[in-house]
Subunit: 253 residues, 2 copies
């Protein structure tokens, strides 16, 4: 790695702490919301909350790993000799990225068979995308990074095509009150996921080592916040509105 200024070190440090707090708070918000939706939407909120809970755990670990990787004294940052563990992001994504697609499918309330088959297809493609990205992320040269990144883009394109073409008819059949929200959730998924490959490509630029580190860490963090907590809140709104339309007002403890 490389020498960070104290400001750069702190920016990443605070971004990680902020993200842990946001993910943990969103988890609780979504799980408490389970009692306000009809039976058909409970699993969607369970899984949206799980995604944020898993992310909260990993941001806690990432935060600790960042702290251990640097020694900070009198405003000077130096490497501690303990490596920052980049793998936490990938193991997080391996779990959460398939679940993100599943929460989107669940809130649409398709037939049981369609739910299972689409969850399986999109979930597997998402896991494959994450697995193929990892060897590139830890590579020290940009050629290796580019090869794996390109391979990882294949399932990415397949997922996007499925979201827009494969799920198009299902989106169109959603009730009026939520159709626009479902489209927004899909668009938010598309836009936030599109951010990851951009961050992945930061090392291709001729930025210096420290700027690359900060850019990659802050970039992935922003993308995670939108893709997980942001999507979670949209899923909540859709579930509440659909429950009202289909079950009347739901009020359990």
């Amino acid at each position: 790695m490389e020498t960070l200024s104290y400001g750069q070190y702190s920016l990443v440090y605070n971004a990680f702490s902020f993200t842990f707090a946001t993910m943990a708070a969103t988890t609780l918000f979504l799980w408490l919301g389970r009692s306000q939706v009809g039976p058909a939407y409970k699993t969607a909120l369970t899984i949206s909350g799980l995604v944020c809970a898993i992310a909260a755990y990993h941001y806690f670990r990432i935060f600790q790993s960042w702290e251990e990787a640097y020694a900070v004294k009198d405003g000077v940052v130096s490497m501690s000799g303990y490596a920052f563990n980049d793998a936490y992001r990938y193991v997080d994504w391996l779990l959460t990225v398939p679940l993100l697609l599943i929460e989107l499918i669940l809130v649409m309330r398709l037939s049981e068979q369609e739910t299972v088959s689409k969850s399986f297809k999109l979930g597997s493609a998402a896991a494959l995308m994450v697995i193929l990205g990892y060897p590139g992320e830890i590579a020290t040269d940009n050629t290796t990074r580019m090869i794996w990144g390109t391979l990882s883009a294949i399932p990415f394109v397949y997922i996007m095509w499925q979201l827009f073409a494969g799920l198009g008819a299902s989106v169109a059949s959603q009730p009026d009150s939520v159709r626009e929200l479902v489209k927004k959730a899909r668009l938010l998924t598309f836009a936030s996921w599109g951010f990851y490959p951009i961050v992945y490509m930061i090392p291709y630029t001729n930025l210096g080592g420290a700027d690359v580190t900060v850019g990659v860490q802050v970039g992935y963090t922003i993308a995670d916040l939108i893709a997980k907590a942001g999507l979670g809140v949209l899923i909540y709104m859709i579930a509440i509105r659909k429950s009202k339309a289909e079950y009347g007002e739901v009020a359990h403890a």
Copy 2:
């Protein structure tokens, strides 16, 4: 033990962290799901969640024990002098393996008497299997390992015979909507459990010490993920479908 490369150390480290996160997430998923199933299926979800909770606890311990067993600095891995505690796996299995069989029996909703007698018989055999395996696991020579491994295989074969012959009639009497899922759950149990003896036998090969350590740790971890979290999700699906068929849509907080 033996010297691991940094990549080998990290692979096991990240596999343990991933498994802790997966087990904890599955626990919450199954316990939140309790409100979505009928009274007859709540205990099956409670126990499936417990299995994952116990595993999460042990993977947290295993993770810490792994971290303490090695000193890693500047990318070089050396032994710290503190032993890695292999016993965590066996005490975990002593608790969780009988419970895994019980969750499978519970979700089938047999008569009360049959549930108790089958749980007792299969649970005891499972505990015996784990107890007999342990002296072999910690043995330093392969002959001792093989003797205890073979003894442990006797209750293993008995359990499999019971699952396929003894529970065959009960499986056939499951409602149409879940019969295939119950068969899948049984097959998943068979396949994932069959993986443990294979991992157990890795030290019989002429692989080097570090490769054996990594193979055994990663192998058991994958088997645990499938046997516990994978089975838990199947149990959840079976419980939801049977509840819908037997109770109509269930909506408790």
